[in-house]
Symmetry: C2
Subunit: 342 residues, 2 copies
C-alpha cells in the first residue's frame, strides 16, 4: 500500500520513489520546492500510507528534549522552569537530561533524544565540549535545535543568550564608578564562550577607564563553586598588589569570597568591594547582601522554547531554520557589597 502511493506520487511528479520518501520524511538533502510539491500531491491524492502516517506521527511527538549542564543550580533551574512552563502552554512535554558538563554524556544524550523522535532539542553546551559535530549533524538531519546560554558561534541555529561581554563591562564599571582601582576578576575555565566574553568585558571596562590590565589580578577556577571562591579570596588577601574590588564570574564564587574576607575581618565594601553575576537567590541573603548582575533564567527558558517552536513549525512547512538570535537584557543589582557610585 505504502509503495503504491509513493510510486503514484513519484510517477506523477517525475521523481524517484526514494526522493518522494525522503521528501515526506523532510530529509535535508531534498529541496524545499520538491518537498512542497510532494506534500501537496500526497494530500491531494488523500493517500496516507503507513510510512507517511508514521512519519507524521514521528514528526509530531509533541515532546522536546532539554539538555542542561546542571539541575541543582539557581540559574539553570530557572531556565528549566521557563522551558517547561512555556512548553506545557503550547501542548508540549519536556524530557530533561543533565550533561553534568561532560562532552561524552552530552553526545550520548543527544542520541537518546534522537532515538525517541523528539520534535526538537534545547541544549546549553557543556564546558568540556570540544567539537560540535554531534550537534551540526543533528541539525543537518533535520532536527530543530536551539542553543541557550552556553553556545558556540560555530553552530548555525537559533540561540538565546545574554550579552555577557556588555554585562561584565557594566559590572566592572560599577566597581570603578564606586572608586575601586585594583580590580580582581575570578573567572571560569577557558573554554565556554560565556567565560571568554565576561573576561573580555572586564578588560574593556578597565581599558576604557584608564586602568592598566594586570594578568596577576585574574584568578581562574574550574568548578565555579562556593569553595573555589573561598579559596581564591585567600590568594587575593595575600596578593602583593592591594586589591580593592572583585568581579566574580558567578554569585556562588562571590559568596565564597565574601565569606573568606569576613573571616579575615576585611571590611566589605570599604576595604574590598565585591560584585557577583547571575542574581542567585542566595546573593540577596548574604551579609552584606551581594551586588550582582541579574540574568533572567526563566525568561531565557521561555524564549528558547519559543524559538524552538518556530523552527518546529518551519520544518513542518519545509522552510529553513530562522537561526534567529535573541539577546536577553541584564541589569546591575547594586546591594551592600559595593559602594554607591560617585
Amino acid at each position: 500500500m505504502a509503495n503504491v502511493t509513493l510510486k503514484r506520487i513519484a510517477e506523477q511528479l517525475g521523481l524517484s520513489t526514494a526522493t518522494v520518501s525522503k521528501a515526506l520524511k523532510n530529509y535535508s538533502d531534498i529541496s524545499d520546492e520538491t518537498k512542497r510539491k510532494v506534500r501537496a500531491l500526497a494530500e491531494e491524492l488523500n493517500y496516507k500510507p503507513n510510512s507517511f502516517a508514521q512519519s507524521l506521527r514521528n514528526r509530531e511527538s509533541r515532546i522536546i528534549g532539554l539538555i542542561t549542564p546542571e539541575i541543582v543550580h539557581h540559574f539553570f533551574s530557572n531556565i528549566i522552569k521557563g522551558v517547561i512552563d512555556a512548553a506545557e502552554k503550547s501542548g508540549y512535554l519536556v524530557i530533561t537530561l543533565r550533561s553534568g558538563e561532560s562532552y561524552e554524556t552530552e553526545k550520548r544524550q543527544l542520541r537518546l533524544l534522537r532515538d525517541k523522535n523528539v520534535d526538537g532539542i534545547l541544549i546549553s553546551l557543556s564546558d568540556k565540549t570540544i567539537n560540535y559535530n554531534h550537534i551540526t549533524e543533528l541539525i543537518k538531519d533535520g532536527t530543530p535545535v536551539v542553543l541557550y546560554d552556553k553556545i558556540s558561534k560555530l553552530i548555525n541555529c537559533p540561540k538565546v543568550i545574554i550579552n555577557d561581554r556588555m554585562a561584565a563591562y557594566h559590572a566592572t564599571k560599577h566597581l570603578i564608578d564606586s572608586g575601586c582601582c585594583a580590580i580582581a576578576h575570578i573567572r571560569g575555565p577557558l573554554r565556554p564562550q560565556t567565560t571568554i566574553d565576561r573576561f573580555m568585558g572586564y578588560k574593556k571596562a578597565l581599558a576604557d577607564h584608564g586602568i592598566e590590565f594586570c594578568e596577576d589580578l585574574v584568578f581562574e577556577t574550574s568548578h565555579l563553586s562556593f569553595e573555589d571562591g573561598y579559596e581564591i579570596a585567600g590568594e587575593i588577601i595575600k596578593c602583593p598588589i592591594k586589591i580593592d574590588g572583585i568581579f566574580a564570574f558567578t554569585d556562588l564564587l562571590a559568596a565564597g569570597a565574601l565569606h573568606k574576607l569576613k573571616e579575615n575581618q576585611i571590611a566589605i565594601p570599604d576595604e574590598i568591594s565585591i560584585i557577583g553575576f547571575s542574581n542567585w537567590f542566595l546573593s540577596s541573603i548574604t551579609s552584606p547582601a551581594l551586588s550582582t548582575v541579574d540574568q533572567p533564567g526563566y525568561l531565557m527558558g521561555q524564549k528558547a522554547f519559543e524559538l524552538l517552536l518556530k523552527d518546529i513549525e518551519n520544518k513542518k512547512q519545509g522552510r529553513p531554520s530562522t537561526a534567529e538570535i535573541i539577546e536577553i537584557p541584564t541589569q546591575i543589582i547594586p546591594r551592600d557589597s559595593t559602594r554607591p557610585g560617585r
Copy 2:
C-alpha cells in the same frame, strides 16, 4: 490477523476474546492467573498480532513522568536530579512537569502523561490537592505510580518518604537540649501530611520533655518563603511570651526569620536559637550558619525511581504492585544558629 490470534488463544483457554485482549493489555479487572496463562500461550503460539505488539510497545515507552510541586527549589531540584540520573542509568527518560502546588494543574498533568503512554509516574502531591481520585484511578487502570515526599496515606502505592515526625521531634529536642524552653514553631499550611507530621513531632518533643504546648507559639504560613519567615519573626519579637527558640518548617523560613532577628539586634543563638529543615545550600552560608535537618533529596529521587522500576517490572510480569514504603534517614546538622547541647 490480530483477531485470529485472539480467537485461537481464547478458544484454547476457554475464555472470551475480550478477556484475552484485556489480559494482553494488562487491565486490572483481569486476574493475574488469567494474565499469566494468556501471555504464556501467546508466546508459545509465537503469535504477535499488531495489537499485542502495539500494546508491548506502549507498555515500553521507556519514558516516565515526574510531577513536582516546584523546580527552582533546593530540595525538589535535588530530587529531580536523583530521578533523572537513576532513570538514565536504567535506560529511561523523564518528562518533568511542575504542578506549582495546584490541584487542577496536577490533574491535567496526569492526563497529559497518561496520553503519552509513559511507563510510570512519580508524583509529590500539591498542597492544594483535595482528593485522590485522579491518582487512584490511574493506579487502578494499571499505570505504576510512586509517591514521594508529599504523600497521602489514603493512596495504596509505593512511597518514598522521610519520617517527618521523628525528624521534627529531633529538631525540637535539639533546641530543648541546648536550653530553650519557649519554642515557637513556624509551620506550613494545614493540608500536606509533611506539615502535620512535623507539627506532631514538635508537640511530642515538648510533651516528652515536660514543656507545656502553647497554641500561641505556633505560627502558620502559606508560602513557606523567605519573606514569610521574615514577617513571622516580626510577630515573634512582639510576642508577649519571651520566645527563646524557633523550629521552622523549612530553611527558607528560618533564613527569613534570622534576617529579621539580626535587623533587630537580637543575639543568635543566645537570645533566640533557630533550627530550620531540609539543609538547603543557603543554610550553610547565612551568618550565623543555620542549624537544620538534612533531608537527602537526591537519594529520595533515586529511591523513588527504583521503586517505580520495580513496579513497571511487576506490571510486565502480571504481578501486583509492592506498595513498598522506603523511609529515607534524616539527621540533625548543628551549626551556629543553635547552642551546643548541655
